[in-house]
């Protein structure tokens, strides 16, 4: 009987330790859902920036070969317009995220920061933002 109790107690302890390490969102000093949404958009914009940069870098030879000077200049101008639009939204969003993260991080110790970030990343992943 005694060994059964010890076994059960050990089982409860193990079960309590293997719970999802992601903390309840309510425990963080920030609107977690809003932060997830902001980060998700920032990830989308980051991907768009890299894709836009790659579109010029990887296709440069074919673009130049297929266009005369005037068309190429127009292409470059269009590229700049797309780039600037992306940058404008990215910069505004970056300021918002930076300020919110600053508020959160100043309240947490190193270990809690990691737990917070892990929680945020896990949520982003669950929502398809990677």
């Amino acid at each position: 009987m005694k060994s059964l109790k010890i076994f059960l107690l050990a089982g409860i302890l193990v079960a309590s330790c293997t719970n999802d390490p992601v903390e309840e969102q309510d425990s963080w000093p920030v609107d977690f859902d809003a932060l997830v949404a902001l980060n998700c958009r920032a990830i989308e914009l980051r991907k768009a920036r890299f894709a836009t940069a790659d579109s010029l870098r990887l296709d440069m030879d074919s673009i130049k070969a297929s266009m005369n000077q005037s068309d190429f200049e127009k292409y470059q101008n269009d590229f700049e317009t797309r780039k600037n639009a992306l940058l404008s939204e990215s910069n505004a969003l970056a300021d918002t995220i930076r300020l919110r993260m600053k508020g959160v991080m100043s309240d947490l110790g190193p270990d809690r920061k990691r737990v917070f970030n892990d929680s945020l990343q896990a949520t982003l992943k669950r929502e398809g933002c990677e």
Partner: protein, 453 residues
């Protein structure tokens, strides 16, 4: 009479032993509060603004940006040093800034070091971005200066405010005058330093995109903050160039080729994380300053430690780039992408774009090597152990990265350039070596305040 003679002789001996260029140790004016009694948020905010404006301003490419951060860091330090017990000015310690060349506060008058700093940093930013400063960004600086002043002035006497601001303005002007003779003044107007004839040889750098001239080919001739740093920290030659498939050089290129074609998703993430970002980077120096800002904010550093940290990092980054650029243009080595397309696979592409300057040594590796030595001195033990999460890129859509050691951080930054196909392994290894040597010199050869908070 004998005593007077003895005293006179002793005085002569002492004065004869003093160096001409003795650094300035200014006693804190006793009426002023110590720097460690001030909050540092505003100073960190200035470096955030610096990052934003570097990103927006024409001509602020990695070399030029490092110099801009360098002088802003020196200004941050000098604006506060007289509020640090036994703080020693960089005047008399760094090149171009002789002892007594900077204005000094009056020992019997009261200053507010935060207001001094607010004025000095705003002015220095205007000086550094110069005629390329966008009107919108000029307004941002004006607003930051005005808002910070409004916050800091509460309860401060009008004469102290005026005196502090005047001292800050005089200080920024004096440091700007120093900067004008270092070889990099207004370099944003011609970052390619044209006309410059690109040498031609099999081993030589060739353009990797539309940019036909390499960046800042004469940067090595700029005056560094630490004397002879570029010469003293050079790390020797790269593997001898060869197109022979049996050669060590070919093997180094094959190593890049195989890495890029077999990158894991995590390695691609690391590449992009440290890239820093197409269109949106405030350059590698900016990324390192962003990490430093985070470390200072999270550790609750006062204005005292924050100013010292920015001063140290400013010197380190400026000098790391000068020394790194000496290696780049002494060797003019071809980039992996150009070599691989010529000798291994014409269809090879890198993970990210290759920047327009020679390969050997890696700029990222050099600057982060210098940067972590400063961070270790300020935050870690001698082995570099320190637990933190780098959230500096989260604002740009990157996942934060966890580190327990600053050397691990530097190695990851260096490796990112290999994963990306931007650099040979030797560029990174030697770059780190050079950067760490620069960082060691900054920490050990200059006298910085100790036991700071």
């Amino acid at each position: 009479m004998k005593r007077i003679l003895t005293l006179a002789i002793a005085a002569l001996i002492i004065s004869g032993c003093a160096k001409d260029d003795e650094p300035t140790v200014q006693e804190t004016p006793t009426k002023s509060a110590a720097a460690k009694t001030y909050d540092a948020d505003f100073m960190i905010d200035y470096f955030s603004l610096q990052c934003d404006i570097v990103r927006n301003t024409n001509g602020f490419l990695p070399t030029i940006a490092a110099r801009g951060y360098g002088y802003l860091g020196v200004t941050a330090y000098e604006s506060v040093v007289h509020g640090i017990p036994n703080g020693q000015s960089l005047a008399g310690q760094i090149q171009g800034m002789s002892a007594g060349s900077l204005p000094l506060p009056s020992a019997d008058l009261k200053y507010d070091w935060a207001l001094v700093s607010n004025k000095a940093m705003a002015d220095m930013m205007r000086y550094m971005f110069g005629v390329n400063l966008n009107p919108d960004d000029a307004i941002l600086i004006d607003n930051m200066e005005a808002n910070t002043k409004a916050q800091l002035s509460a309860g401060v006497d009008a004469d102290v405010i005026a005196r502090s601001e005047q001292f800050g303005a005089d200080l920024a002007d004096a440091i700007y005058q120093v900067s004008k003779t270092d070889g990099g003044d207004e370099s944003y107007l011609n970052p390619w330093q044209t006309p410059w004839e690109v040498p031609e040889a099999d081993y030589c750098w060739i353009p990797t995109d539309l940019q036909l001239q390499p960046l800042s080919p004469d940067w090595m001739n700029n005056r560094s903050f630490i004397a002879n740093i570029a010469e003293d920290t050079q790390i020797g030659a790269h593997i001898p160039y060869s197109s022979d498939p049996q050669s060590e050089f070919y093997a180094a290129a094959m190593e890049v080729y195989n890495q890029v074609n077999n990158n894991t998703p995590e390695q691609v993430t690391i590449t992009e994380y440290w890239a820093d970002d197409p269109f949106q980077t405030c350059t590698p120096t900016g990324h390192t300053f962003n990490i430093l800002k985070q470390l200072l904010a999270e550790s609750g550093a006062t204005l005292e430690k924050t100013a010292v940290a920015f001063g140290m990092m400013g010197v380190a980054e400026n000098d790391a780039f000068i020394s790194c650029w000496k290696s780049k243009y002494d060797y003019m080595l071809i980039r992996p992408v150009s070599y691989i397309q010529e000798h291994i696979d014409p269809d090879f592409t890198t993970v990210i774009g290759t920047p327009p300057f020679p390969a050997f040594i890696s700029g990222h590796s050099a600057e982060i090597g210098a940067g972590i030595k400063v961070m270790i001195d300020l935050f870690a033990d001698a082995q570099g152990n320190y637990t933190f999460t780098d959230i500096s890129q989260q604002q740009y859509g990157f996942t934060p990265r966890n580190f327990d050691n600053f050397y691990d951080l530097a190695n990851e930054c260096a490796l990112s350039r290999f994963y990306g196909g931007i650099h040979f392994t030797m560029d990174n290894d030697k770059g780190l070596e050079l950067g760490i040597a620069v960082g060691d010199a900054v920490v050990n050869e200059l006298t910085w305040p100790k036991n700071i908070q």
